[in-house]
Amino acid sequence: MTLLTVNDLWVRFPTRQGIFAAVRGISFELGQERLGIVGESGSGKSMTGRSILQLIRKPGQVQAAEISFQGRNLLDLSEREMRSVRGNEISMVMQDPKFSLNPVMTIGAQLMEAYLQHNRDNRQSARKKCIEMLNAVSLRDPERVMNAYPHEMSGGMGQRIMIAMMLIPDPKILIADEPTSALDVSVQRQVLSIMDKLVRDRGMGLIFISHDLNLVAEFCDRVLIMYAGRIVESCLASKLHEAKHPYTRGLLNALPRLDNPRAHLEVLQRQDDWMHAPLEQTQ
């Protein structure tokens, strides 16, 4: 079942040098699956994620033939209707919990707010719900966490809190924008497994944005490779090593591999025509 359809999406920024297109006409679909978006920094991954939620700040402009969620075109919704989609239907986890949690509100208050925004409920049962959710992301001592402030949490705890907060209204789609890039390597996998489990148990769709090809290959079903605002390749995660596009091959060759050690890692050579080449399908 298709949850989300994106068709010919453009994101543009007016700059001093003229109009800069950060995302240049990309199209993709998302079902109840885990879709990875990979690409180097600045390739437009975050802008893609944010434009689905219509959270591109002025002066940026979003234009698309279609961004539809379960058959409803989000582009036609009023700001008010869009607000009931955000959080409730489509949610997003951002890179660094140190910045993405409000520093002067208790974690409990922020969780309760996320829940009560979309659910009519009294505070006691909302609180119970939040504590359940904190348990679900395997945080110890959730009562204490509820009353704590974000700066009292470690990065891994913070990101699990973010995941709990974003999943509490029971959305259908979670966009995770480099959710582990700011974390210690030691907790990255733990956080990802928690997120992965929750997403699968609830039958959600996941868009996992990352620059780490290994992680994406491990945690996703399908991968989109972005370069300079375009999708240059789209393939199944299991068939990633069969990818054809030179950019993907370059990315793969630039990774160290335990099973196939090499004396030199290759340096990625970029070519101008990748920016204009039509999309190659490898499925």
């Binding site: 959270l55 955000r86 959080g87 993405s100 409000n102 520093p103 996320a114």
Partner: protein, 353 residues
């Protein structure tokens, strides 16, 4: 905590105080140093004055013996260090000497005039806050639009007005031409002395006595100077609010709030604004201090019997004890407000604990 430090760091003497006490002592030390410096400055100003303090007391025609006696009595024959010590001793005991003009102790005079200034500055800062904060938030939210531009011009104009001139224009327009407000002074003459002075603030005293006529009369006298001071502090408060808000609005947690599906109003007031409250407390304390200063010139225009009028009148009649006493008191209040805002910061910011 202390023992842990002494065990792990060999060769270092164990710290005699826990860290919080150390930092408190350090703060107290720096406050004391600032206070001493403040008194040193006023002391020096008092010494380099072209006015002879003895002549000011004994008069031009006193005999040499009387002059010498007073000279000795004032301790002027002692070394400067000793004189400064006497000065400190007196100030610590609340003794600023007698005023030449009123022939009363300066401390009594100040206690009498101070509530008038406080009443004026307080209402001023309340007006500045009530208007300035929403204006600052508004111009941050609508950054770059005509709303922002208008508010910006309005605040720049506020910064640029000579406040005494603005007061005169206000009197001319609202009192002289339109007759909407009371004129100079705190009350019309026939309302004076009707209610007993308890706090020294007319509005409060009138309320305590339950005399609404006096209250409204006092209000109509107060509202114009307070509004002008309010405009003055509005410029500062809204400017700072705007820049604090801009910083917060570009923060990542604001995106989180939007992702949750919150409305713009919730995002702005429920999230961004919560983060600038602590900073705003500092700004408000500072603008209150600035208003004490702004009131010097305003009080003269409005014949307002506050500390500003007191200092300037004393200045023009070479009443040095009064000038220096007033300066020390205003300086003290300045320092206290600064300490207070630091303290509030520590109390209200969860990160500072």
């Amino acid at each position: 905590m202390v023992s842990v430090t002494s065990q792990t760091e060999e060769g270092r003497k164990p710290a005699p105080f826990p860290p919080w006490l150390r930092s408190t002592l350090a703060t107290l030390g720096s406050i004391t140093a600032t206070l001493l410096g403040l008194l040193l400055v006023t002391f020096v100003i008092g010494r380099v004055m072209p006015i002879d303090p003895v002549l000011a007391i004994v008069g031009e025609r006193a005999s040499q013996e009387t002059y010498d006696a007073v000279y000795h009595q004032l301790g002027l024959d002692k070394p400067l260090m000793v004189q400064f010590f006497y000065y400190l001793w007196d100030v610590v005991h609340g003794d600023f000497g007698n005023s030449l003009l009123t022939a009363r102790p300066v401390s009594q005079d100040i206690a009498r005039v101070f509530p008038a200034t406080m009443e004026l500055a307080t209402l001023g800062v309340v007006i500045g806050m009530l208007l300035g904060i929403p204006m600052g938030v508004l111009s941050a939210v609508h950054r770059g639009t005509w709303v922002d531009q208008t508010i910006r011009v309005l605040t720049l104009v506020g910064y640029s007005m000579p406040i005494f001139w603005l007061g005169m224009m206000g009197l001319l327009l609202f009192y002289g031409i339109l007759g909407w407000v009371g004129g100079p002074g705190r009350l019309d003459i026939f309302f004076e002395g009707l209610v007993p002075s308890v706090t020294g603030m007319v509005l409060v005293d009138a309320l305590l006595a339950g005399d609404m006529d006096v209250f409204w009369n006092g209000f109509f006298h107060l509202i114009l100077p307070a509004s002008l001071l309010g405009y003055y502090s509005l410029a500062y408060i809204s400017r700072m609010t705007r820049s604090f808000m801009l910083e917060q609005l570009s923060a990542e947690y604001i995106t989180t709030a939007r992702v949750k599906g919150l409305s713009e109003r919730q995002v702005i007031w429920g999230h961004a604004f919560k983060n600038i409250r602590v900073q705003l407390v500092t700004v408000i304390a500072l603008s209150y201090a600035n208003l004490l200063e702004g009131s010097v010139l305003t009080e003269i225009i409005f014949s307002w019997p506050g500390i500003g009028s007191y200092i300037t009148t004393a200045l023009l009649s070479a009443d040095m004890n009064a000038v220096l006493g007033g300066t020390v008191v205003v300086g003290l209040i300045f320092i206290c407000l600064n300490i207070l805002s630091d303290l509030l910061y520590k109390i209200f910011d969860p990160r500072a604990k």
